[in-house]
Symmetry: C2
């Protein structure tokens, strides 16, 4: 039985608590939360405290809080030489205080409190300073998902930047797309199947092979028509030009 | 029984031929194709000719060719007052010769010859100059899909621009994302679940509500870290800054 203490009460903390409680091989001995209201669903299943001074003994301490407070919380822990991990995509393992054995357990997904997350499909990135801790993190992660990867801090930063492009920025393009539809009384739902197909295609083709559209075809007449269509929407206009340009440069290089 | 002649031999022509042959209420009387090799799968099911001078009589003529040749082909048809439609997202109904009754049948999806398309899920945009032709197009489309929409030429252009953002440009962001992964020895497949979730989320939330990430959170320390990470990749760097800026402007407006 592996004993875990979790620190945090945000969306990720919520889903981790839920998942840990489901695993028979794990015991969630305590949650440290300044805002226990957000995790009130679990008050009958686990002891919740507000302050680290009362923290229990455990095999693993998971700090699932905002990036900006990881360092402070890690430094405030009243013990040494324990395994302490954070869950951030963009923070190095080194923001954790060196008085403990350090690690990272980073699940690559967007979490919303009210949406169920399928942990079976969830990739987890593991990092630890020594082999034994690495194995423990692997053992725990394997209870959640078949997809775990050993990723160091520099790779994790790269992954986080990649995720911003493939998720946050993609969503912003969806938003621009929806705005153009709304402005022209076209239902955005018309684009749903295309959006689904575009996201699904890159599981069998690389994005480089999957590229279609007027930019890669160098269809100047359509490109001009689109740019002229967007002349009143300064931001969309700039993004259209910059990405078209980027696509064209890429495929010239590949010719 | 509705008689159809299809002109074209590209990917869309291929899938339309296949679909029309499946519908008992439709008869594909002829295909006009300069390059019959690409549609050789159907040579035993339908008569294929190379030149419009031999074109058969039909209730509907579908011109499924590249945008740049629609006008020429439509002008070269050796008859008047028949229903002739094109299948393009960005061309007005008016590129078709006025000597015939004009219309548009635009399926909103990317087509690759070797990938099966689920027509049931495929949105079709219909346009016609008169009510009777509009009804015929509706009747035919209803045999393919439950999702058909009456969309005029200006709306269809808006839809096509939206589709470029939501599909072609999104795919380019996937490509940048994959490149960053490759450069840092991280498997791109780690991002697949996030990409799927991002595309699926906007079916229940608007993209405006679904936005997450450091730009909308105004997490300056992460933004700076990412921009510095991208300093060697000029294009990705410019796109990162422009889209981050666009997200921040949008959410300031909404505050």
């Amino acid at each position: 039985m592996i004993k875990i203490v979790l620190i945090g009460s945000g969306n990720l903390a919520y889903h981790l608590i839920k998942q840990i409680l489901l695993c028979e091989e794990l015991t969630l001995v305590q949650v440290v939360a300044r805002h226990p209201k957000t995790i009130s669903d679990f008050l009958s299943d686990v002891s919740v405290i507000a302050d680290v001074s009362q923290i229990a003994e455990a095999d693993l301490y998971i700090i699932a809080v905002s990036d900006s407070v990881i360092e402070t919380i890690s430094a405030s822990l009243p013990f040494n030489n324990q395994l302490v991990v954070h869950t951030s995509g963009s923070q190095s393992i080194e923001v954790l205080s060196a008085k403990n054995r350090r690690g990272v357990l980073y699940p690559l997904q967007t979490f919303s409190k009210n949406k169920t997350v399928n942990f079976n499909e969830l990739p987890f990135c593991i990092e630890a300073e020594n082999e034994k801790d690495s194995q423990l993190l692997e053992r725990i992660t394997a209870l959640f998902t078949a997809k775990f990867y050993h990723i160091n801090s520099q790779q994790r930063l790269a992954l986080h930047v990649s995720a911003v492009f493939a998720s946050n920025f993609v969503n912003h393009l969806y938003q621009i797309s929806e705005k153009i539809c709304d402005d022209n009384q076209v239902p955005f739902e018309l684009l749903h199947p295309l959006i689904t197909e575009t996201a699904s295609k890159i599981k069998t083709l690389s994005p480089l092979e999957a590229q279609t559209g007027p930019a890669v075809r160098r269809d100047i007449s359509i490109l001009e028509k689109h740019i002229s269509f967007l002349h009143k929407n300064k931001t969309a206009h700039s993004i259209y030009k910059l990405i078209t340009d980027s696509i064209q440069k890429l495929y010239v290089q590949k010719l």
